[in-house]
Symmetry: C4
């Protein structure tokens, strides 16, 4: 099994997921700025999901590039990740349309949690296959640290949503920023 | 004719089919958990189809990687398979929206049957072109066995749907699990 | 300018065009077979367009594989072809929903005509760049013959649609079959 | 980080953006030519956006092909560009459905402006990484000139939309034509 095709297929699915979300932003029938402003929560939920899926794409790329060969466990843990990612447009739409209502934020946080766990499962499967390179081991352990941090944050955001969904949204942003800061260790390990 | 482009095009179409199905899961206008729970049958039908299309993608990959060159018969039997696969989102949506009603399950089973037969036709076209490698012949014969098993199961599930659609759903799951269990013979034949 | 990316982009656009058409087949809210049968014209218009876009994909592949390098004329005549192809889902949906009503068939035939002309323009641009190989010149001249045949047929089908749209549909099928019959000259020229 | 995957992912997203716009052209339920003619503004807005996204695709290709390696700044400025491009179908739909009403044209112009600035940011990130080749420096400076010209034009078109949206539309066309004229310097720099 060739890893290029796994990469190409995953890229295709992620590219479609990230783009079809925009279909959730319905064009207002009215041409007033007010009508447009009512779409703002939908826009922000789209922006948030776009950033998260972009982060997943980047990390997925790093993970697969570290891979020497593909086995059945990797194919199916990858499929599992893609399945949960593919539900993000649904959760994003529900959250945006209902202006970050409590239940919708909880569902979104649960979905991010499941995606985070699915990514960790994929990473464990990849690590089993590639254990030789010490720099890579370091880089992957850093990604794992961030994943654990994210999973903890998502769990907290689920609890906080019962008090105020704004806190949950702030935690989502913190997680996103944590991933967006480039990690020198990973870049070094990958490039060399 | 270059097999890379056939692979890339098929990957693209399969990636789109697997992802646009999620557009069938309409966001409930209500934010109650009850409203979400009403989407559960749609979610399960999506999950089922995601797994089936994932299986087709994996097998399609194995089949094409076994291929040495592409002829007109392969292009058109591949197009035939993609056509029937592209109808899965429609059948999935109809089945999910109507909570696995009898007619919708029958249509779904018939479509899976036609997809199974289309895959077998593609496999026969591929086998005609590549006959030299004994390990590959063994691997392809194992895939064929599974295909025959699936086609028989789909036929049974069509009949059973007239009694209880739950039986049909169970048979769909049995077929999926049968394919998900990795086959050492195929992996060996492909990797070596 | 690298022809691989032109190919990859065109493949992506064609794969999306061929797949989003299936979104036009709305799931009936009713579970009766009658409700499904009412979608039959939509199904047939989808099948017809799937075959036509499949043919364009195959020919596009042959054309680009004959290409040595890419210039601005090729990029924009390719974009022109993709633009008209991208309108096929719209024309297909209009024709299918209205059960092959006169005006919808005329629009569909006009669109096929414009697509045919756009392909011919692309071919002329490709031929200007690659003139050396005699077998290729022969193969391209055969494709050109078929294109001229198609354009004439589409023009006739537009006129016939004023009498009976069934005649137009028959002509569409004749054109499709004419292209589906594999041409030994082209295959030889490409493979050698 | 490998630039091929960046290219493949961007191509995928751009191909999807350019194609899903066609879903905005709703099929009229009526089969009269009048009903079709009412879709003309939608068609023209689609045509305009198709040309603009096509131009972005071409320039994006040139930019990435000039790149020797990928860093975090390039990944995220590329993601930023893709985000704004992904909103074009929304702005196009709003403008087309409301027959180029004032507010919709202003939003469209603002979006084009933001896309232009995002492209410029990406170009600056790319230039930081690749500074050696003098021909390439010349080519990139020409692209930058055109980008500045475009950004100025978009700003003017926003102001003009308050008087007459027709003037804005004319300016959009001028910008498009300016980019469509092939630039010998860029082609030379890239091919050699």
């Amino acid at each position: 099994m060739n890893k290029n095709r796994l990469e190409a297929f995953s890229d295709g699915v992620i590219a479609i997921i990230i783009t079809i979300m925009v279909l959730e932003i319905k064009t207002p029938h009215d041409t007033s700025w007010m009508a447009l402003r009512e779409q703002l929560p939908v826009f922000f939920s789209y922006l948030l999901s776009f950033v998260f899926i972009g982060i997943y794409w980047g990390n997925h790329h790093h993970l697969i590039s570290a891979l020497s060969h593909v086995n059945a466990a990797i194919i199916w843990s990858n499929m599992n990740l893609l399945f949960w990612l593919s539900l993000i447009p649904f959760a994003t739409g529900w959250m945006g349309e209902n202006r970050f209502a409590q239940n919708t934020v909880i569902l979104y946080a649960v979905l991010l949690l499941v995606c985070g766990l699915s990514f960790t499962i994929l990473q464990i499967c990849v690590e089993r296959v590639t254990k030789n390179n010490p720099k890579l081991v370091l880089a992957l352990s850093r990604v794992m640290q961030k994943s654990v941090f994210s999973v903890v944050c998502y769990s907290i955001s689920i609890v906080l949503a019962y008090y105020n969904t704004l806190f949950s949204a702030i935690i989502f942003c913190i997680v996103a920023i944590r991933w967006l800061i480039p990690d020198k260790n990973i870049e070094k390990a990958i490039t060399k």
